[in-house]
Amino acid sequence: MPIERGLQYLRQMQRVTLKNLPMPLEKTDKWKREHPDENTMKTIMSKKGPISRSGLPPYGIDPIQAEGRLPWILTVPKEPYYEGVEEARQYLPISLRTLQRLIDLRRINPARPIDLPVLCNTKLFSIQPDQRQFGLQLTDEGADLFSTPINLEIQWVSSEVATAAIERCGGILTTRYFDPVSLSALIDAKKFFERGEPIPRCDTPPLNAIEYYTDPKQRGYLANPDLIREERQRLAQKYGYKLPDASKFSPMFHLRKDPRQIFFGLAPGWLVNLKDQTILKPKDNKFETFYHS
């Protein structure tokens, strides 16, 4: 602790007197140039020169590169092709073909729900939350090959063919938003538990994403489940397949997460202790209201 170390020094060192106090640091040349004192101002604002004769050029003009009277910044036109690049969200693609391949090679268990940590544990994807990457998106390459029922949770789906391919085999698709803090916990779960932080609660999606995640057509996690069922029927009719019975499959298949929950089986606010193989749960009311709100 910095305070206790400072006090330790105080106890060991000499008495603090008026002569022992530290002088302030010297001002750098850069600071002095930006904050001229009285005498330099007097030499600048003398009776001669372009300053006193109002002969200075306007701001932004370099006399060597000036073409006409406009500065360079105004002569070059604006071409906003990449406007909004700094705020756009990125999703790494995963195709149905890779999914089928992973299931065939037994790297993924289709009997359990397939989640973002499950896909990251295959070490095929490197998601970087600080590069504005918010998860994975499903592409429709390999829709004809896909033939296993799975419970998939993905962050973005842009094509109907992909959803239809999954639901034709009897699977379930949900799109789910994770904010960067919970993403960093999900990508490397073991590392996160070794850090010793309580499980964060997932924030609501930003304004330009709420419409997507409340849409039943995209199977958003905030959408009405009745509307989702309608959409499944509609897709089945459109692409010409019959929806298989959902009651045949195990209850593990139908697991869904709470909007604030990140991990299956663990609630936000819990502390996982890997060394002692225990989980610590908060008891106080305020924590419970915060983490389950």
């Binding site: 910095p2 305070i3 400072g6 006090l7 020094y9 105080l10 106890r11 008495r15 603090v16 007197t17 008026l18 022992n20 106090l21 530290p22 002088m23 302030p24 007097k42």
Partner: protein
Amino acid sequence: MMIKSSSIAKILRHCSVFRSIQRFESSTTTSFPPESPASPITQQLPLIVSRQIEYPHIRYPPLQAWLETLGQKRDEKLGLVDLHPSIWQTSPRLDILYENVEWQKTYKKIDWAYTPPHHEYPNMRTKPWPQKGTGRARHKSRFGPQWKGGYKVNGPKGPTSFFYVLPKEKRVEGLCTALTVKLHQNDVHIVDSLDLPTHQPTYLQELAEDRFWGPSILFVDDTDIMPHNIMFATAKTEGFTLMPVYGLNVHSMIKHTTLVLTIRALNKIEKKLLHALHSYDTQKDQPPAPDEP
């Protein structure tokens, strides 16, 4: 004699018996000879003076200091006093102490330097010698800047004040750091009152020498009306000063080697500083101000 309050506080922190008013009659009589346990020895028994600590600190428990007397030469401790950690255990920011000391020096400073300009000189506007003919340089007046005894062009004009008010947070922080610095360098002594048995200055001087209370001592009391004996004693010794609480400042605390507070002064100082540390800009959330000025 040099008792380190911090180490004792560490020992006592392990026993959790010091937060309430208690009269230790059985546990501390081991130090005294076992004579007449029935008769109550009121003065010699160590007391714990109860002090209700407002705005208790979240992290640190209260510190402890000995309660001493000036009434007798023999160094006997009367008990323990609780001290608030926000005031007596802050980070030792010596640069804030420097700023406070500089402020105390310069806000009263007035620079009386004045060089009269051209028009305030005596009216010798006549040419000293004609323009041409004489072999000398051409001059217009006898009091030009290049002449001896002439006016100065851009010299200091009139009284300039160096008045500025250091922000309140820095002043409060300066007082708190000065108090922590004194406490952790064993230069603070808390005393029940400033009553002396005699008015002889030698009594105080010998008392201070025996207890190693440095060459200069600052006595701080509640009000500005002090007992007669101590007034006489401090007036005759060099280095001892009396001060009421409203005169407490960083420069005096650092200049004097030791600081002697009475309990009533301690209460007042803590009350005022805590009110300043926990007050806000908006009037709505202000806690009520203390009654006395």
